[in-house]
Structure formats: C-alpha cells, structure tokens
Amino acid sequence: MSLLSSSSLHSNRVVVAMSGGVDSSVAAALLVEQGYEVIGMMMRLWSEPTACGAGGVNRCCTPDQMADAQRIADQLRIPFYVLDVQEPFRRTIVDFFVREHEQGRTPNPCIECNRQIRFTYLLNRALALDAYYLATGHYARVVAENGRFRLLKGVDPHKDQSYVLHVLRQEHLAHVLFPVGGYTKEQVRELARKFHLPVASKGDSQDLCFLGDGDYRRFLREYGQPASPGPILTREGREIGRHEGLPFYTIGQRKGLGISTPEPVYVLRKDVAQNALIVGTRAQLGQQQMTVRDVNWVVELPPAAPITAQVKIRYRADGVWAQVSLQANGRVQVHFREPVFGVTAGQGAVFYNGDECLGGGIIAESE
C-alpha cells in the first residue's frame, strides 16, 4: 500500500488520531496551542460481539472512549470524525493475528497495525483532507537532519514506543508528528491537568486493544481453527506430555505445561509440521543468534558493513548488544554478545544506536 500523493497539502493542517486517552488528548491540545489547524479522528477498529448481542467488550474504541474523545475535541473546538475501519482492521490485523498464532508464531499486532492501518490507511485519509501531518499520542520523536528524518526513542524510558514504530520510512516520517514524545508520562498528565482535560487520571491503554478481556487464548479459541492437541517433546524427541494446541503457549513459558520433571522445563519452540511443542532446560532456551526478516531501515540506507547495535526482541525488553549484519537476501543476521532468552518467532526485532531507532523486522523461525 502506498501513500497518496497530493500537491495541495496545507502545511499547517494536522489530523490527530484520538483514542479518548490521555496521550492523544494532550497531543491534540498541544497542537492546538502551537497554532495548527487540528482535525480529530478516531478509528473504529473492532467491536467484538458479546453474548448479549449489542455493544462490544473490546478495550479500544468503545462507545465510552468515543464519547470521551468527542468531548475532548469539543473542548478544544476542533472537528472530530469517527472512521469506520472495521473491515480493513479485521482483514489485515485480526486475521493476521490468528493466522500467525496458528503457524506457530507470536505476532505483535501493534506493529502491523501501525504499518498498515495507522500510518497507511489513516495517514492517507489525512493526506486526502490536505493535512500535511498525522499526529498520534506515541512516545517517540522525529528529528529532521540534513534532509533526512531520524526516529528517536521517547524521552520517557518507561513509555518509549519507538519499538512499534520501526516500520516507518522516510515518506511517513515527513508527515508524522508525535507531540508527547518529548515529555514523560508524568509531564503529560500534568499537561492534561493544565489544559483541563478530563482524562488526566485515566489509566494507560493496553496492548492488543481488540481483546475484550486481554485473554488472547480465549480469543484464538473463538476466532481460530479448533485447537489441535499434540505431543510435548524434548529436543531429543522424547514425548514427556501433551499440549492443548500450539497457539496457547509462548516461547519461554514454564508454568502451565502440565508436566513434572526434576529440572524445570521451558517452551523452546513450536514445531508446526509435527504439531509438537519442544521444551528444554533454561540453558537450552538461551540463543546466541537469530535471523530477522521483512526488515525496514528507517533511514532507508541499510548498513553496508556489520554494525554493533542494541537490539530489542520484544516491546517490554531492554536492548541487548549484538552485531547486526545484512545478508544478501535482505534479511539480517543478529549475533548477541551474551545468550538471549525467549527469542520468539513473529515478534519484532528492533535495532538501536543509542536513542535512535535504526529499523527492525520480524524474528524468523530458528532452525
């Protein structure tokens, strides 16, 4: 999917993606204060039918949150529109989430949503309205330097969201604003109070917004193929138990395997061909290297020679030192300095040089 080209963009016009939460509300208020012509938009992404029929139980874009966002927009005196994105979201994110799990991977749907929905579908709709920018409440920063845009971590180390934004390219960054990226969460709450926004004390939004109860296993049971139980094998191929279906386990999981062994065992990987869950010791979980596919380089200049970078292997993980080498096929080989535990196929691997997000991709299955 490409971006709409338009020659009539208004450099002062911004569409802000509003969720009814603190971060996007403060983002909108900051932009108004900075003198932009701000347009609020909320995406209706998903509504899971409930047992009683009407309404939805998902955590995002509920009628309550819509009403909150509407009230904020009204208070800021900006237009506010709700977009119906349910069909594209189901097609590109929910189906993808279920399919990936069925293929033995653990996807991060936020990354895919940013790539296909937020910074393509929504950005295109902003551009179509002649808005030069799309703003979101993400904790990340964009800086322009010598005609290039660099993506930096948010100032608040606990809230940094550059991990899920590594899919952005120069053409996106030219049209993206992250107004709260330069603040800590505490400062953002402070700003919400200063702007008298009635959301200052609202809780943080959750990952996997489309899961009503946060229980992805229940979701997969409901929306995926029927579970297919199979063997739990050691690396040597010895069956030591049975599993309920591969999608219900995560790499590195120790509890809930239903097996008792003298030494604790961990899920090492999923063998989809054999429908087997492979388990082993903590030491066997450690990995010295991994392959990363579908790599995006934010600066659009892949490093010619191997580089040393900090690599994050999931959203809530610290970066670890590694050597990152580009392969001829565009994939990236990552060699960790120290063994890393819980490398999970399907999750994002994101490369950093200090505060700068260089790019990233998806962790491929290990051999």
């Binding site: 709409l4 995406m43 579908y121 295109n124 179509a128 309205l129």
Partner: protein
C-alpha cells in the same frame, strides 16, 4: 482565513426566521404566565396559546380543537401511534397497525415497540424502487382488526412523496384511521384537512424556520387518543405538561410564514435542486445516481448515491470544505450501517453506503450550488483514488 460555509441540510433543521424570534420574544420574561392559571397572567398566556392554535388550524384548514402542541415531531408521531393503538385496544376495536419500511424511526421504532413489548400486531409494508408504497400491498395487508395506517407524506432521506390521498381514501373506505408523518413535506404542500382523508398529521416547526422543541399533531375531531404521557389536563388531556407558550407562538408564526411563502419557496428550491442534480449527473455520469422518485419528490431534496463510496467519508470532506449535508447511513460512532431506506428500495450493496442528502433552503443561492459542485468535483475523484490505493 475564514472559509465560507454553505448549509445544505435544511432537512435536518433550519434557522429560525427573525420574524418568528420576534413573535416569541414577549413570552419568555414579560408574558410568562402559565396558560392553565385562572388569573390575568394565565389569561395572557392562554390568549397567546389559543391564538397560536387558531393560526395553526387556519393554515391546515382544520379546527382549533384538532391541534395539539407537543414537544417534538417525534413526540407527535409517538402520540399518534400509541394514542390510537391503545385507544383501539381499550375499545376492543382493533389490534393491528400498518406502516412501511422507510418510515422515520419515530414511527418505525414506535411500531416495533408496540409489537414487541405491548403485543400489538404490526405489518411493515415494503416499498418499490422509488420508495413508494404499493396500494395493492396495502390493500392486501388490511385486516378486520386493523386500527391504524401510518405512512409518511414524504421520506426524510430520499424525498419521495407517498400517494397519501389514495392511501387515505382506502383507509377511509375500510373505516381505518390514517396517520401521516408530514414532517418533511409540510412546508411545500398545501394542506386542507377538512377535505383530505387524513386523520392524524405530525408537524415539526424547526423544519420550516420555526423553533426546535415543539411539535404539532393534528388529530381529527372524534378520534380518541389514549395519552402517551400521563399527568395534567393540558391539550384536552391528550398531552400533559405545561405548554411552552413561546414555542407554540413560534410554531404558529413559522407555519403562517411558510404558507404565505410557499409558492415562492418551492420555485426557489426547485431551481436550486435541479441545478445541483443536473450538475452531479453531468460530473459523475458513471458513479452517481439520483435516489428516490424522479418526479414525485420534495422540491428541496436532492438525494444521490455514489457507487462504492462511504457517505461518512463524503460528509467529512464536504465538512472540511465548509459544506453541510447529511446521509441516511452516516453516523457519529463510526459504525455505519447501510441506509435502511436505500436497502428497502432494493438498491444494490455497492450504492447503499454512499447515499448523500442535500436539502436546500431559503437562503441558498445558485452560487452555493456551484461551489458545492466544484467541491464534489475535487472530493469524489480523490476518494476513489484513496479507495484504489488502500484496497
């Protein structure tokens, strides 16, 4: 830079005419009495209220006693349906209601509630491709226990006029009461309730330059209504609650002005509407159709549909261009359903999310129409391009 705003949503509401504002003015803080009070303050208010009632009656060729002031057009519809059906049950004269698939929700949802919660039987008639009820369908639906037929005079979304004279005549032959929701049609048609076969008629003054918060229900003399609200004896016990005198005065003044200006307004609306429809057909011959009846339609309504487009997107872009329109499928919650009206008319899936309604008014000019056509000439190709790249 202030952009010029163009209001083409008079089917939603209209500005209050300054003459109406002036007529209401004394009744807020000077002549504020309760018309039910038996003292001079009450008499002043009562005089204003009854004068307003007489004015409305004259405009409709009705008797003052046939005019009830309510709180909204929707309330008038509710009172008509609930009032007649509960009275029919009380007297044992019937239990069956006939309405049609493209009624305003004030009628349709009321009918559904009467059926689902109160045990009445309801027939919802289909409509043809133009949104018209077929008399043969109506005739076939009539039963010995049919108490009421409720068919709108003109559809709010596509503007199609229903054959209400034929429907009313049929109802009368069968001894069935006939209600029509005339909320969209009232200002552009001449009404002679003494001669027309209509027993109940709903009116909403804010659709013709009157105030919001007031409705009118014409109820033919002799028709018994069980009140939908219970309380005091205002409006002959049919609509309890202290009557809002300034709004009743405003409603009557607006109706009087509408009747006086009718011929002039209708000609003005038609010229604007035709220019808009002609322009749209010229600009988008392949992807735009006119919805509703080609000739039997409200003079101020231009309803169209764009193939494969979403009305929400069109309205958002029009709004950004300063143009106010509306749609039967647009919604503020981002969960748009296909338009129920367009669906009932049998429009194919590819059209029924892209329905737009422009409703012109007194203050619109040909320049407004041309500016709207210019804006759509920009917006529509852009939305198709957007659909193309994001699949």
């Amino acid at each position: 830079m202030e952009k010029r705003l163009i209001y083409l949503d008079h089917g939603a509401t209209t500005p209050v005419d300054p003459q109406v504002v002036a007529a209401m003015q004394p009744y807020w803080s000077e002549l504020y009495g309760n018309p039910g009070s038996a003292h001079s303050y009450g008499r002043q208010a009562s005089h204003a209220l009854e004068t307003a009632r007489r004015t409305v009656a004259e405009c409709l060729c009705a008797q003052p006693g046939e005019v009830i002031f309510t709180g909204a057009g929707s309330e008038s519809d509710n009172l008509a349906l609930r009032g007649v059906m509960f009275a029919a049950r009380q007297s044992g004269r019937g239990n069956h209601l006939i309405t049609c698939a493209i009624e305003h929700p004030a009628v349709l949802e009321t009918a559904v509630q009467l059926r689902d919660l109160f045990g009445f039987e309801v027939t919802i008639l289909p409509v043809d491709e133009y949104g018209r009820v077929r008399l043969s369908d109506l005739e076939a639906a009539i039963r010995p226990d049919t108490a009421l037929i409720s068919i709108m005079a003109a559809n709010n979304e596509v503007g199609t006029l229903q054959p209400i004279f034929e429907i009313g005549a049929l109802a009368r032959r069968c001894g069935i009461l006939f209600h029509t929701d005339a909320i969209q049609a009232i200002a552009s048609t001449a009404w002679d309730m003494a001669a027309m076969p209509i027993d109940l008629l709903s009116v909403a003054p804010h659709k013709f330059y009157g105030p919001k918060g007031v409705g009118i229900l014409f109820v033919r003399q002799g028709v018994t209504l069980v009140p939908a609200l219970t309380g005091g004896s205002q409006e002959n016990g049919r609509r309890p609650g202290t009557v809002n005198v300034p709004l009743a005065v405003g409603a009557a003044t607006a109706l009087r002005l509408a009747v006086a200006r009718r011929a002039q307004d209708v000609a003005h609306y038609q010229s604007l509407r035709d220019r808009l429809l002609d322009g749209l057909c010229r600009l988008f011959p392949q992807v735009c159709i006119i919805t509703g009846h080609p000739t039997a339609r409200l003079p101020h309504n231009a309803s169209i549909a764009f193939r494969h487009l979403n009305a929400n997107d069109l309205l958002m872009h029009l709004d950004m261009a300063g143009i106010a329109a509306s749609s039967g499928s647009a919604c503020k919650t981002g969960n748009p359903k296909p338009s129920a009206v367009l669906q009932a008319m049998g429009l194919a899936e590819e059209w029924n999310r892209g329905g737009l309604r422009f409703t012109v008014g007194q203050q619109n000019t040909l320049a407004d129409i041309d500016a709207t056509l210019d804006a759509l000439a920009q917006i529509v190709p852009r939305l198709y391009k957007l659909a193309e790249i994001s699949g």
